[in-house]
């Protein structure tokens, strides 16, 4: 009796397993044939815009391989898709493996280009200077980090940079601290501890945020991919770490009287209020497409940024503080990095794709919520960088 039951379940289980395998195989073959289809239909028709292709007889590689920052991933996927749809020349395979891994892959020459939230370290830049003509670093998009908060009934908060530093290094402990109330009188009766939500995983977002805190603290707060917790045990327990921008957004949403930092897009998607921060000109500005673009424009116009072939390690938009009165101060470039010398096919493909990104691709940025197109003067840096690509 029992034996029969067992063999029945075994039979049922194997039937289910076989069905799953068959379906999976069918899906894969279907997918593969679908992927292969567009290439033959598109390649025979020569591209109608010969001005963009340097030589009409150029041979395109099958695909360009990129890897790195997770922050630029949604944008990169959008670009890859639109580029392929528009031109159909070759595919872009971007893997979001994290900035550090992206740079490591670039060093191993395992990718054609890398993307990173931070420029190459000086030591890395020096080491790679003599490899394949050196590394071109060009800003490709802008990240901006905002302070999101959850205080019932409060939608607007204003912070000076000093106060923001003190909240995140743990020295301001309560919402009704005089330094906060001075700017935000509506909090005067809020006798609650501030719960700070930070990124527990190493990330570019934390790097931008801590660079900002480092600047405000005149170097006392360390800028790193990990967030530094306060030393006092009693302060530490007010800090909770969450994973990823999504995790921080959820944790702030679910914790009353908390404050955290995320990329602007997550604040918008998560519908959480974010604070206005005082800029160099003394105005309290909230992050928005305009204020962030204004900040980058202002920095590029006034600060002397290095050449794409030079060392960018000292460049930090946060530290070069935008002077414009309407600029949001906590912004940063995300970079694309590639070698100067490439094989003829790869060089042509990189030139083609990146030029497209800077010229046409910027139009698609607004379609991806929370991402912000580069201002014109930053696009020029990118185009200059592309002109260095050699075979």
């Amino acid at each position: 009796m029992r034996k029969h039951g067992i063999s029945k379940t075994v039979a049922l289980g194997s039937v289910i397993a076989i069905i799953i395998i068959v379906v999976a195989v069918a899906l894969i073959t279907l997918n593969m044939s679908r992927q292969e289809q567009p290439t033959p239909t598109l390649t025979p028709t020569p591209t109608p815009t010969p001005t963009l292709t340097p030589t009409p007889t150029v041979r395109w590689p099958e695909k360009l391989l990129g890897g790195g920052a997770t922050f630029v991933n949604p944008l990169m996927q959008k670009w890859a898709y639109e580029f392929q749809r528009e031109k159909g020349l070759f595919g872009i395979d971007y893997q979001s493996i994290g900035s550090g891994q992206g740079i490591a892959k670039l060093k191993e020459q395992a990718v054609d280009f890398a993307a990173s939230d931070a420029p190459l370290k000086r030591s890395d830049w020096e080491a790679l200077k003599s490899v394949r003509g050196g590394v071109i670093q060009i800003p490709v998009t802008i990240g901006s980090v905002v302070a999101i908060f959850n205080i019932p009934g409060v939608d607007e908060l204003k912070f000076t940079q000093e106060v923001l530093l003190k909240i995140f290094d743990g020295s301001i402990k309560k919402w009704n601290d005089p330094q906060i109330v001075e700017l935000n009188p509506q909090l005067s009766n809020l006798d609650k501890d501030i719960i700070v939500v930070y990124r527990a995983d190493r990330s570019g977002t934390t790097f931008i945020w801590t660079s900002f805190l480092e600047k405000v603290s005149k170097g006392k707060f360390p800028s790193d991919l990990s967030f530094k917790l306060p030393d006092e045990e009693a302060d530490k327990t007010r800090f909770i770490g969450a994973k990823g921008n999504e995790g921080v957004t959820e944790a702030v949403k679910n914790t009353q009287y908390s404050i955290g930092y995320v990329e602007l897009s997550y604040a918008i998607l998560g519908r959480l209020p974010h604070a206005a921060v005082q800029n160099k000109a003394g105005n309290f500005v909230k992050a928005s497409t305009e204020s962030v673009m204004e900040a980058v424009k202002s920095v590029v116009a006034h600060a002397k940024l290095p050449d794409p072939l030079d060392d960018w390690s000292g460049v930090s938009l946060v530290k070069l503080e935008p002077a414009s009165p309407n600029a949001y101060p906590i912004v940063s470039f995300s970079y694309v990095m590639l070698y100067v010398e490439n094989s003829p096919e790869k060089a042509a493909a990189l030139r083609e794709f990146l030029t497209w990104v800077y010229e046409k691709g910027q139009r698609y940025v607004a379609d991806v919520p929370g991402y912000i197109p580069l201002p014109d003067n930053a696009v020029q840096i990118g185009l200059k960088g592309i002109s260095y690509i050699k075979t």
């Binding site: 891994q101 360390p222 530490k236 969450a242």
Partner: protein, 302 residues
Amino acid sequence: MVAIRKSIFIFLGSFALFLALILPFYFFGELYGASEFFSKFSFLDFISGREWSLPEQKYGALQAIYGTIITAGLALLITTPISIAAAVAMSELLPEYLSERLGMIIDMIAAIPSVVVGLWGILSLGPFLSSTLYKFLIENLGFLPIFQAKTLLAYNKLTAALVLGYMITPFAVSVIKENLRLVPIEIKEAAYALGLTKWEVIRIMLSYIKPGIFAALMLALGRAIAEAVAVSMVIGNTCSFSVSLLEPACTLTTLIINNFAEATGTEAAALIGLGLVLFVISISTILVSRLVYNKLLGGYMR
């Protein structure tokens, strides 16, 4: 026919042998990655280091060890009475059709991916507990150091332990249930023949399968120690030695899973070191439980 069956068994059995052979390789692999670690740290300093802070280049594993022991221990504490009670209820007290369905549901819990359990912890369990149970604990039992907390947090050691307890209970339940089924019918019949009540019989049965219960709980504990994804989502990830269960902590696994993707050089080596500590803890759990199990078993052989 017999030959075919035999060869199938031998074929499958060789897989188990293969696994047994992998273990030493795993050891070497671990040591290979760890050579980087040993070249940069002294193991004793590492495990007795009181502070873990990557921005300040402080690599001490003690806080993470503390977090691992507290959360896994607490999860075990939660799961022990629940799983024993559930197993007894299912095998002895409930009518068969009910216990069969209940067993199926509990087995299903074991099949939920840990990331889904973690999401559930973040989105519903944590916020719910913080507005009900944790609030009650802080207000009424706040005089106990373990329930002292200045602020109400949804993500803390207790949430992590509850999520872990939820995840490991199905394993303990099904093993204990199987053990109860294996109690010889003669023992039960003899007990009833002596005029014992149902409860007394259950007590005899439980003491008969003591080694089995112990093994089941150790299996669950091993899983609790090794669990990473779900815990990292609900524990709050702030390394500290705070005694309060309502304050955040970090564990060996959460530090590794949070930091490894973006770690290079010394940080990566330190994370490998954490893996090594975890390995030592799991191996010693297995060895100790093996010893105790044999001792328990020996008591019955005599």
